[in-house]
């Protein structure tokens, strides 16, 4: 019992610093609720006097409105001050390119963050399909505008990332349209999730990088795990500084892809195959990205583990696809375990070791945990 009290105290001491008082929150919530009260009253009064189907329709309308309101609140995230970027530059080509991104990205961002979720809270609503199309139009306009601009040499690699990300967004939206055509709402939700979780995750960093140039868009180390891109110092020529940001960024994407696929594959969902192939693509990309980099001597052993882990992961993913194709669920389950083991025991460990160097990693008994602290 005393032990439990001490654990409680430790956890409280660790978490207290992340809780910031928000005395305005109650008022803010009250204000938000005020805007919804009339609609809620409308539903309650009317659904009692209508037949079941009409009442269901009324609830459906209400849901659309409620979800819209929720996402309007959510979209406050968009109005957070984007203090940045624009590093003054005299290069007109960079200015022109940046203007194209600044014109198109906020439109696409708003579509994906606000308009699409608001309209698709009720996925059967015609407005949903309309917003998917509108989002696709925004992404395609972005692509077209980029095609019409000459890419400054210094932004070429960012431009390539941006184009790849946009192509993925368009592909994701096409998948969502197909889901709607087939009335496959479960797949629609999953593809929508993928659009949020993966596709724009690729576009956003590139858009930030354009704004930040000649600085780099970096996820600061020791950022307490909260994903925030900031304009930081451009990677210096030292190999450590080149190698680590690439490894961390690619690991972030890969880890997210694996995690988002875990449950789907554990459930033997039909989506598992496509997600597995996407994870494989990211693993291969990871290998390609670190391939040409000079490995800092002190990180060489961990780099070796990482590369081996990525190869093992690709093999495990291939095995999962083969298991799915053969309909062998036992092999499928075994492949799920292999993917999980490689992720934790090899790749996560290698990344943790790099992050902790020159300290070591204190690996716990529980091999399923990735919560390994650096040694003191």
């Amino acid at each position: 019992m005393e032990n439990e009290a001490r654990i409680r105290r430790e956890i409280q001491q660790a978490l207290d610093p992340v809780v910031r008082p928000a005395p305005w929150l109650a008022d803010s919530i009250r204000e938000s609720l005020g805007g919804l009260s009339t609609r809620r009253g409308w539903e309650l009064v009317n659904s009692q006097s209508l037949g079941w189907s009409a009442a269901r329709a009324a609830v459906a309308v209400l849901l659309i409105l409620a979800v819209a309101a929720i996402f309007l609140v959510g979209s406050r995230a968009l109005t957070r001050p984007h203090e940045v970027p624009a590093q003054p530059t005299v290069d007109p080509a960079v200015q022109h390119y940046r203007a194209v991104v600044d014109e198109n990205f906020p439109v696409l961002e708003h579509q994906v963050v606000a308009s699409l979720p608001a309209a698709c809270g009720q996925v059967r609503a015609p407005a949903c399909r309309e917003q998917v199309l509108k989002t696709k139009e925004a992404a395609q306009k972005f692509q077209a505008d980029l095609s019409g601009v000459s890419v400054p040499p210094q932004l070429q690699s960012i431009d390539a990332d941006l184009r790849t990300g946009l192509a993925d967004v368009v592909a994701g939206l096409d998948a969502m349209l197909l889901d709607l055509d087939h009335n496959n709402y479960d797949a629609f939700a999953k593809d929508g999730d993928a659009l949020f979780s993966v596709k724009l995750y690729e576009v956003y960093p590139a858009a930030v990088a354009v704004d930040c140039w000649p600085k780099a868009a970096v996820e600061p180390l020791n950022s307490e795990g909260i994903f925030k891109l900031v304009c930081g110092e451009a990677p210096s020529p030292t190999s450590t500084q080149r190698y680590q940001p690439v490894a961390y960024a690619d690991w972030g994407l890969l880890r997210m892809s694996i995690n988002s696929t875990d449950q789907i594959c554990a459930d033997h969902s039909s989506l598992c195959r496509a997600r597995t192939l996407e994870t494989k693509r990211l693993s291969q990309q990871f290998l390609n990205d670190i391939g040409p980099l000079i490995v800092p001597p002190q990180l060489a052993p961990f780099d070796g583990e990482l590369r081996q882990g990525l190869h093992d992961l690709i093999a495990a993913l291939d095995d999962r696809v083969a298991a799915i194709d053969s309909g062998d669920t036992n092999r499928w389950d075994a492949a799920n375990v292999s993917v999980d083991q490689v992720k934790f025991n090899v790749i996560a460990k290698a990344i943790e070791e790099m992050a902790c160097w020159p300290k070591g990693v204190q690996i716990g008994d529980d091999s399923s945990s990735s919560a390994w602290p650096c040694t003191s």
């Binding site: 992340v18 925030k228 900031v230 930081g232 399923s368």
Partner: protein, 175 residues
């Protein structure tokens, strides 16, 4: 008596009385905010999660079954919002000129506290939820069970596993 008054408020709120709902919600905002902050480690995202959970609670109040306590039901909604917020964490991508220093832990707890926070963040959603509800919000197992939809025995098991996973980052030896 207090419970009866609470039940009446729930009844009134379900009938569309917003004031009744606000009275029910008010004492839950602070624990909801603490919970979301501990789950997300991002003040803005935590506020958003509680705000969205409040709206969701209002629009879904009819789903609150008779006799169910409001607090675990609301915290369950907050937990779901936190899961969505983490899944869509590119929402929290912000662009600032330089890395923010303000989010760094105070120096005195920089060692143990940061490791433990990192370990808590790395727990999966379910383990993190029960751990924080139990150890940080001091909720009894019964309420955590209601919030998460798991049996009290399952919650106990999750807690055990979560603490076990945290062990390397805890100064206290696990029993």
């Amino acid at each position: 008596m207090q419970r009866a008054a609470g039940m009446q408020l729930v009844k009134d709120a379900k009938a569309g009385d917003q004031t009744a709902f606000e009275l029910l919600l008010r004492p839950l905002i602070e624990p909801g905010h603490r919970f979301a902050s501990a789950m997300l480690h991002d003040p803005q995202a935590a506020e958003d999660a509680v705000q969205e959970a409040s709206i969701k609670a209002w629009t879904k109040l009819h789903q609150l079954r008779e006799g169910t306590e409001m607090r675990p039901w609301f915290l369950g909604i907050v937990a779901n919002q936190c899961r969505s917020a983490r899944r869509q964490r590119w929402w929290s991508v912000i662009k600032t000129a330089e890395p923010e220093r303000g989010t760094e832990p105070p120096p005195e707890d920089a060692a143990g506290g940061a490791d433990l926070r990192r370990a808590i963040r790395n727990l999966d959603h379910r383990d993190r939820t029960v751990l924080i509800l139990y150890f940080y919000l001091d909720l009894p197992l019964q309420e955590i069970s209601a919030a998460t939809g798991s049996s009290p025995a399952a919650v106990r098991g999750q807690l055990y596993r979560a603490v076990h996973k945290l062990r390397p980052a805890l100064a206290v030896e696990e029993a």
